[in-house]
């Protein structure tokens, strides 16, 4: 394995990180939207969202990705590997994010909400000024945890031909007939990324616990 090969894997890492970041950035607000639909008990929609979340949480990302990649072009929606990857990641993570957001919404203290109401705040204002800042705070550890889980399933994207860390490593392994070194390089790139997110989550939780203990 040459230096060029390592660079090729690093280039794959750029694709992995970019796609994950896009998936996370789109998945966060969609998850919040879905959680709000369920929280507000919007008729019909709420039921649909509940089924959507339940199904997606049970669906392996590979299966979802293959479904999107092969089935959407079949019904006339052209879709490249990159778009399929982003769509699959977004659908997957939004379902998990929905549950994190929803649990903070359900646990949101009712008295604050009623206080805001009695001050004559509009629904949108109540949400933006009172609810949103607090549920972001509450959901943060869960959302970061979800991000680390998302990064860990991204090697799947290689299956539809996205040139990410894993595909680069597989290709080098096939060329050099020595698959072990490129895979170890791939692990050496993945592990610190995941570990950083896990450490971030622990750090947030520890700081919260310390803040709670001091009050």
């Amino acid at each position: 394995m040459s230096l060029n090969d390592v660079l090729a894997i690093l280039q794959g890492a750029l694709a992995t990180v970019t796609l994950s970041a896009i998936g996370i950035l789109i998945g966060l607000p969609i998850g919040l939207g879905l959680a709000l639909i369920r929280w507000a008990r919007v008729p019909v929609l709420s039921g649909i969202v509940a089924v959507y979340v339940s199904v997606l949480r049970a669906t392996p990302l590979v299966t979802l990705l293959l479904l999107l990649f092969f089935a959407l072009p079949n019904i006339g929606i052209p879709l490249g590997p990159i778009s399929a990857a982003i769509l699959a990641l977004t659908m997957n993570t939004s379902a998990f994010n929905c549950e994190v957001w929803r649990s903070s919404l359900v646990n949101f203290p009712k008295d604050q909400y009623e206080a805001a109401q009695s001050f004559g705040m509009q629904a949108g204002q109540r949400f933006r000024r009172i609810i949103l800042p607090q549920i972001i705070h509450d959901s943060l550890p869960g959302l970061v945890n979800e991000m680390s889980l998302l990064i860990k399933v991204t090697p799947v994207l290689a299956v539809v031909g996205v040139v990410d860390i894993t595909r680069a490593a597989v290709r080098i392994g096939a060329q050099t007939y020595e698959p072990l070194p490129p895979f170890l390089v791939a692990v050496a790139i993945y592990a610190p990324i995941v570990y950083a997110l896990v450490a971030l989550q622990r750090f947030i939780e520890k700081r919260r616990a310390a803040a709670e203990a001091s009050t």
Partner: protein, 218 residues
């Protein structure tokens, strides 16, 4: 569209054998991972720093590696070290070792949260460490963690789908073969998705039964 689903129906044998393989793979590796987790967790809680640190390295390390990469290493990487397994053994081995780390961590979390009194009472009665673990610590631990083990079980079912890349004939692989044979991608993969959903609902139902047993014993 209905025609596509009829095609999948005509291939139901293939899909069901995929479902059976996914189930066998998940159940076997979950049991072995839990057993391995039970063996590992006393090490994780060991008072000997070196043992605890080695265990912690294994558990944290595993949890930072994507499962698919780990499966690739076991199937494609280990043969260059002279260890060659077929796809079934590699799949089972990878699923088991990977999830053992998660199981050990789940058990450790519950162990730390356990009340100290029964454990101290046990050691005051002169229970050896092994007996203490087996009789006093482990039984309530297993009942307490059953919901989290259920979540991990769902994770294992989903991880098993990755093994399609090493040509293990599980559910996603079966759906892929049906799609490539008849070109019915939507019907084939949606059927697989619904079967995965059914499996996970089954696990959740199982967890709530165990939860009720645990509640009754309290």
């Amino acid at each position: 569209m209905i025609h596509d689903f009829l095609v999948v129906w005509s291939e139901r044998g293939l899909l069901l054998s995929g479902l059976a393989n996914t189930t066998i793979l998940s159940v076997l590796s979950a049991i072995m991972a839990l057993a391995l987790g039970i063996i590992l967790v006393p090490g994780l809680m060991s008072k000997r720093k070196a043992i605890a640190a080695a265990m912690r390295f294994f558990v944290d390390g595993m949890r930072c590696v994507p499962f698919l990469l780990f499966a690739y290493i076991v199937y494609y990487g280990l043969p260059s070290l002279g260890l060659r397994f077929d796809n079934w053994s590699s799949g089972l081995l990878a699923l088991t070792i990977y999830n053992a780390a998660y199981m050990a961590e789940i058990l450790r979390g519950a162990w730390v949260a356990q009340p100290r009194e029964p454990i101290e009472a046990g050691s005051a009665f002169g229970f050896s460490d092994f007996l203490l673990f087996r009789r006093i610590i482990l039984p309530p631990l297993l009942l307490n963690v059953s919901p989290i083990i259920g979540n991990q079980m769902i994770q294992i079912i989903k991880d098993s789908a990755f093994l399609t890349i090493i040509a293990l004939p599980e559910l996603t692989h079966a759906a892929s073969s049906i799609q490539s044979r008849h070109y019915v991608p939507f019907a084939a993969f949606i059927s697989a998705v619904l079967l995965y959903w059914g499996l996970c609902l089954l696990v959740e139902a199982g967890v709530s039964v165990v939860g009720r047993v645990a509640e009754a014993r309290r």
